[in-house]
């Protein structure tokens, strides 16, 4: 289903449904009678109760257990209706909080499910670009030396062998974050600053010692939208949920005049 974007705006829902509600009230149709004293437990309702039992116990209820669940359901229903009749939902802080939460949830539910367009996400990505840095990828070779002097000597003599260590000698197309995991913060930062070259460069310090590095490819431009699209969408969604709650609140808040005595 691909509706125009405005149909998904909570504001439109509020206004549109407000109109329907108004018509419904003016019409004066038959509302559900809260004082109805008929509780019908049909097959569908029973299945629902059985399912919720199964959700916890991991098996279907026995007949006796289902009967107990139905008894429980009837009890709730009776007390719920009677509570409504007595107006116990009024001025009750729990009910208030619950309803406030439901309104917030209502406003944000559309954002949970929304399918943002590429354009929307790209704009969000551009606005928050700094959050998506650090995704450059590197391809390089490295030789390890436990002392700085050995590394310096090696680069001067053109040696092509380092000392043994359980680190990969060759890194292909790894994100900087992954290089940081393997070699540490200091090394990743230094490596990112090396220009690609056929020559060995360094020594570059790491938490392990010193390294000569042959930077083959440094793809800094790779922190592109496509690579972080999922993350952008997720972040957009979080931001959108907050924004929609706020917008819905502002719409509802607008007609109120608040008087504060000082």
């Amino acid at each position: 289903m691909n509706l125009p974007a405005w149909t998904r705006e909570p504001l439109v829902h509020f206004l549109g449904l407000g109109a329907i509600v108004y018509v419904a009230l003016a019409w004066g149709g038959e509302p559900v009678d809260p004082s109805s004293r008929v509780i019908s437990v049909d097959a569908e309702q029973e299945a629902q109760l059985a399912l919720s039992f199964e959700g916890v116990m991991g098996r279907a209820p026995t007949d006796a257990e289902l009967d107990a669940r139905i008894e429980q359901y009837v009890r709730e229903e009776v007390l719920y209706r009677e509570a409504i009749r007595l107006g116990l939902d009024q001025d009750d802080a729990v009910v208030r909080q619950r309803m406030v939460a439901k309104m917030d949830l209502t406003a944000s539910a559309a954002a949970e499910a929304a399918e943002p367009s590429d354009g929307t996400l790209r704009a969000f990505f551009e606005e928050n670009r700094e959050d998506y840095s650090g995704q450059a990828t590197l391809s390089f070779d490295q030789l390890y030396f436990s002392s700085e002097s050995a590394a310096t000597a090696a680069i001067e003599s053109g040696a092509t062998e380092g000392e043994a260590i359980s680190l990969p000698a060759t890194i292909d197309d790894e994100a900087v974050g992954e290089v940081r995991v393997l070699f540490g913060e200091a090394f990743a930062a230094s490596a990112l600053a090396l220009d690609p070259s056929d020559e060995w460069q360094g020594p570059v310090a790491s938490g392990f010692g010193w390294h000569l590095v042959r930077m083959r490819i440094r793809d800094v431009a790779s922190s592109e939208f496509e690579q972080v699209r999922d993350r952008v969408e997720n972040d957009w969604r979080s931001a959108e949920i907050e924004a929609r709650k706020q917008r819905a609140f502002e719409v509802l808040r607008e007609p109120y005049r608040v008087e504060i005595d000082r």
Partner: protein, 641 residues
């Protein structure tokens, strides 16, 4: 009355209509499942993936009461490396992101404290009508300190089995859980990014008969398509076997997988690893098999102490006793003291030994488990780093000056102080990529290890034909193709097993002091034995063994500014080691313990940051050798039929 009702119906219609619009959730299917076939995998497990399997958020009954107001979303953001604002108002961020996270809120009273806190006083007073609950309610609203005390009482009461029905009524709990569970599952899928960050569904099963901690963390391999078909299993009033049945039922019905991770055996007063059934009768093979299948891994180190071994159990191990002080006094709420004869059922090394014995009697080993570390943080902040310790709960977060020296008991009794708490540990999982399936499967085959915080890379392969020359070539391939990795089993071939052991330091942490192999076995007379071998250490030429012991590595920690230097120790330690005490037909296990050089613990960082003096006892414990414990490799000897 009629009019009001109409309006209310109308509002309901609006709400329903709005919620009903556009319910097509647009998550990438790769995020919502178990991650199989979503990313390219390495041929062999290529690096340890780091995570915390034991994090509480404000949905945990105690965490909320202790003051935490950060929820699961903040927890996920923090774990993947973002800055979040902690409850106490300071920004919090990990120096390095984690690769995976299990949110493990208590299944009992999921969200209950929050519901109680939000209730109006008259409701608590008239409807709940329980004086104790009303007193807790008032304490929670009075001040953060009183709130902390109230929760301590709630935990003690849960431990004593005297919790009022508001908290323990399963029907009420179930209703409360459904919303929280389903909301959380959706959130976990949203943050689950195969190849980048893995978010697992889980919960903590919090059974503690008489205050003896039998807690397990349950983690699921699956996405919300399967996990939404179940609900967290209550801990109060149920037994471990009930939990395993619940897990089996989940697996059978959904085709998914779950595993349980016992934690804090150190606070179980010997009940976590018993040699009998819980009722004292002889253990049956069925029970042992069920336990082994459900619980492949134990959480051996976390904020509430370390459970590797106790000096009483391992008198010849000079490195035993890390994270034991304070915790060794008694059970979780300190309602019962720990007696020496209880210790063997409370620590993992002795449990591994008991497992070998039980296997001889039953033909199956109930305690053939691997080892991980975790935080058990109740702040929504999964950090095990000494210089970034956010406290056990919000009552003692990073900004609390007094937390290191202060008495910190769950109940009202004396005994445990702030500095007894560890900063917590991490789990390292050797996997071929970062997905739910890959990480979970590493746990299931026990190819995981524990650290007390640092991220050193530790490998062990066991086999019969490894040699020093293997190091010159692709030794990881050799390890996987000619032997078994940690968590694996070797079958006795009449010759001593040989191991390739490698430990690479944390690239942003301290150097390594030494690598040890801990061996446990059953001797010729059927007695269990243990021995710790120093197999490789830094500066071996300058530091030769004397009187059978490796001299101490030294100590570079400056107590005045909480710094150390890597001028001692080594970047990597590796060796090929053959068991010198092998006897044919012997049943044994071998695990690796790696020790870092001494570094400051969190109380020392606190003392420097705030400029106060640690108490004498705290100062004596302000510097420690952080460590890693791998899962064992078992040598299967002759097993009685």
């Amino acid at each position: 009355m009629q009019k009001t009702w109409n309006v209310r119906v109308a509002v309901g219609v609006v709400a329903l209509a709005i919620t009903g619009c556009g319910s097509e959730v647009s998550l990438d299917p790769a995020q919502t499942g178990n991650g199989e076939e979503t990313i390219e995998l390495a041929e062999f497990p290529n690096r340890p993936y780091w995570g915390d399997t034991h994090l509480h958020t404000d949905n945990s009954v105690d965490a909320f009461g202790f003051g935490t107001r950060l929820g699961p979303e903040a927890a996920l953001r923090f774990a993947r490396g973002e800055e979040v604002m902690a409850t106490t108002g300071a920004p919090a961020q990990l120096a390095r992101p984690l690769d995976f996270l299990v949110i493990a809120d208590h299944s009992d009273g999921l969200g209950a404290t929050r519901r109680l806190y939000d209730a109006p006083r008259w409701y608590v007073s008239w409807v709940i009508g329980d004086e104790t609950v009303l007193r807790w309610y008032d304490m929670m609203h009075e001040s953060p300190e009183q709130s902390t005390l109230a929760v301590a009482e709630i935990i003690t009461s849960a431990a004593d089995g005297t919790l009022p029905p508001t908290f323990s009524d399963p029907e009420a709990a179930r209703e409360g859980s459904i919303d929280i569970w389903n909301t959380q599952l959706g959130l976990l899928d949203r943050y689950n990014e195969p190849g980048t960050f893995t978010a697992f569904a889980g919960f903590e099963w919090t059974a503690m008969p008489d205050g003896n901690n039998l807690h397990r963390v349950v983690m699921f391999r699956d996405g919300s398509d399967l996990t939404s078909q179940t609900l967290p299993f209550p801990g109060l009033g149920t037994a471990a076997e009930g939990l395993w049945d619940y897990m089996l039922a989940y697996e059978e019905e959904t085709g998914g997988q779950a595993l349980a991770i016992p934690h804090n055996p150190n606070l179980s007063n010997g009940l976590m690893f018993e040699t009998t059934m819980p009722d004292g009768s002889p253990m049956t093979p069925e029970y042992a098999a069920k336990r082994a299948a459900a619980e492949p891994v134990v959480e051996v180190t976390q904020i509430k102490g370390d459970s590797e071994t106790h000096p009483f159990l391992s008198p010849n191990d000079e490195m035993a006793g890390f994270g034991v002080k304070g915790w060794e006094l008694g059970n979780l709420p300190l309602t019962a003291k720990t007696e020496p004869e209880m210790l063997a059922g409370s620590y993992t090394r002795s449990a591994l030994l008991r497992g070998l014995s039980l296997e001889q009697q039953l033909g199956v080993n109930p305690y053939a488990f691997g080892m991980i570390g975790a935080t058990d943080s109740h702040t929504s902040l999964a950090t095990g780093d000494e210089d970034n310790f956010w406290g056990k709960h919000t009552g003692n977060e990073y900004t609390d000056e007094t937390r290191a020296n202060a008495s910190q008991n769950l109940g009202t009794r004396e005994g445990r102080f702030g500095w007894h708490y560890l900063a917590g540990g991490y789990a390292a999982a050797w996997a071929r990529g970062n997905t739910r399936a890959e990480i979970f499967d590493a746990f299931a085959r026990r190819e995981v290890y524990a650290t007390t915080g640092p991220r050193m890379s530790v490998r062990i392969f066991g086999g019969f034909d490894f040699a020093d020359a293997d190091w010159d070539d692709d030794w990881v391939r050799a390890g996987y193709t000619r032997g078994v990795p940690m968590g694996g089993e070797l079958t006795d071939r009449g010759s001593a097993p040989t191991f390739l052991v490698s430990a690479l330091k944390d690239p942003d942490g301290a150097n390594l002091d030494k690598v040890q192999i801990v061996k446990g076995w059953i001797d010729g007379s059927g007695e269990t034995q243990e021995r710790v071998y120093d197999v490789v250490w830094s500066d071996m030429d300058a530091r030769p063994r004397s009187a059978g012991r490796v001299p101490a590595v030294g100590d570079t920690v400056n107590r005045d500014d909480a710094t150390y230097t890597n001028t001692i120790g080594a970047a990597e330690l590796r060796t090929t080691w053959t068991d010198p005490d092998y006897a044919s037909g012997q049943s044994a296990f071998y695990y690796v313990r790696v020790l870092e050089i001494p570094t400051p613990r969190w109380p020392l960082f606190d003392a420097v940051r705030f400029g106060f003096d640690l108490s004498e006892d705290a100062m004596a414990d302000a510097v420690a050798q952080e460590r890693a414990y791998t899962s064992p490799i078992w040598l299967k000897g002759s097993v009685a039929p």
